[in-house]
Amino acid sequence: MAPSLLILGVFVVYPIGISFWYSLHDWTIGAPEQPFVGLDNYRALASDTQFRNALVNTLELTVVSVVVLVVLGLALALALIGEGRMTRVVRSAFFFPTIVSLTSIGLVWRFLLDPDLGLVGGISSALHIPRVDWLQSTSLALPTVIFVDIWKNAGFVMVILLGALKAVPAERIEAARLDGAGRWQLVRHILVPSIRPTLLFATLILTIQSLQLFDLVYVMTGGGPLFATDTLVNQVFREGFVNFRTGYASAISWVLFVLIMLVSAVQLRVFRYDDVD
């Protein structure tokens, strides 16, 4: 395991440490002087409305997409658990977006939803449905990005849960049915508890991914309009690479890092992930 740890150490842990060091300075890459400012960057964050906005967006995006994805993924998995030919085709179609890069997906959806040249706008104007500026509206842009995120990941969750559902012993289901359990009761009392570890795994992975969402936002909206879809990582990117405020950007990323740790710890606790052998 040494090589793995060495790589993780050199290319992940050490850079994280360095970035914390940056965050204690008014660090500008390349500048001759990097004045030490202690916790000033973190204090500035507290009153930075852009940071608060990005934080709220990120949390909203995470909560909505994770909840919808887990529920939708479970519903799809239950609906498509069979082995019929049609079922298999539908399953593959839902899974397909998983293998496509977020950048391509962002690009396609950005233009697909364009009211002037996209298919969605074209069809709705042919049907005389009023024009909707999905990505230009400050109230609709974030929900739209969340939708696309869900669209991409639903198949992934479905497939993961399918694998777990198939591993549920048939006898257990049979026994429940003999006890007169209805469809809903079967799901609620037998299936969901049986796949709990997998549900936790999916939730954890999705949460971490959502909290770090960047590519999709960057390609679809660039964080706009008016910062309506700005996420924390997008702000890290903007402060660090556009405004050259490396120290400040590092402080934001540290807040994000701690946030992810906290959320993961809470989830592990809530799901009582008794994994420690």
């Binding site: 500026d133 990505l135 008016l226």
Partner: protein
Amino acid sequence: MRKTIASLAGGALLLTALTGCSGGSDSSAGGPTELTVWTGFTGGDRPGYDQIVKDFNASHPNVKVKMVVQPWDTITQKLPSAWLTGSGPDIAAPSFDPNVIANYVKTGSVLPLTATGAGTTEINTDQIAPTLVKEYTYDGKLYAVPANYATLSLYYNKKMFAAAGITSPPSTVTELLADAKKLTNPAKKQYGLVLADNQTIQMWPILQWLQGGDIVDAKNCSVLQSAAGQASLKPWADAVAKDKISPVGLTGASADALFSGGKAAMEMNGPWAAPGYKSAGIDLGVAKIPVGVDGKAVTLGSTAPLAVSAKTKHPQQAQEFLAYWTSKAAQKKFSLATGFPTLRTDLATDPQLLANPVIATFTAQVPDARLYLPRVPQATQVDTNGYVPLIGKITRGEDIGAQTAAAGKTIDGLTGCSS
């Protein structure tokens, strides 16, 4: 046992790492000096720049310049760290926004250009438009040369003008507004004048100037919230929010797409856009920006900086290349090929350039051109945190008084305005 193997492997990795360290030596012993240039010129003007490089290589056998063209976004992400470590290109256009040079000057990653003068291998600052020289001079030192100098003109779709019964392009700002409204037809998804407000060459300052307003004053204090500032924004914000002369929140690329798709009748844009519009089959007209309420002409000038890495191993050759790039011969050829106005004062009246109507239109506006937030402290943040959000809000129907006041406060905080 396994652990030993693992640590051995780890050791080997470390060893490669250490030996890798000694690489990267200078191999300039024989053969021509190689210079790398990064630019983001992916538009229709790209062949013009390629030609400059080609001609330079042909006439300078001891130097070989390689220009790498990539999107501005990519350069923005890579250049800061690349130049910091000295692994980046010798020369680069860091952005299409001249203001970013300030960031690179602050981080000490650009070389002050000292090879200036009238000689053939020197950068002739006396013949480069003074606005531009001033823009790139910090504390008395020149840090970049203009890679180009463009003005914005009014592109219009002749077919759509004819269909609306308008015979000539607008010549005053009042006519511009009236025509824009007349050419707008929401039912047909047709827009009178597309106005991009983010990820774009700025169009809104032109409208403000035409209406007698501005963004900041000489002391870098916001004047957006002044009576004149608000009055200059109002007609156009209303025209977008209420009359729908343009979709809201357009990026530069999407505004261009609407115009080249025949969905927009007018757009203010630079000379780089013309080849694309023509190949899209637009019946294209190019006119000067209409005159303002005071009867005076004004437009936005745009220049991309070309700077040298502070860590280049070949500062002399790099500056020689910049001298060649801005030389009279190279610039004349460039203008003829691309339709760009010239950045040199000694070419402003060149008959061969003025014989081309497109170049003539763009060149005629050079004396009236103003840069966007020239030398305003933290200009990039004034743009992203102040001006762009302001335009976004007022075109979505929010109150101009309140929003200009808020933007003014943000901008004053950034520029350190001290009034």
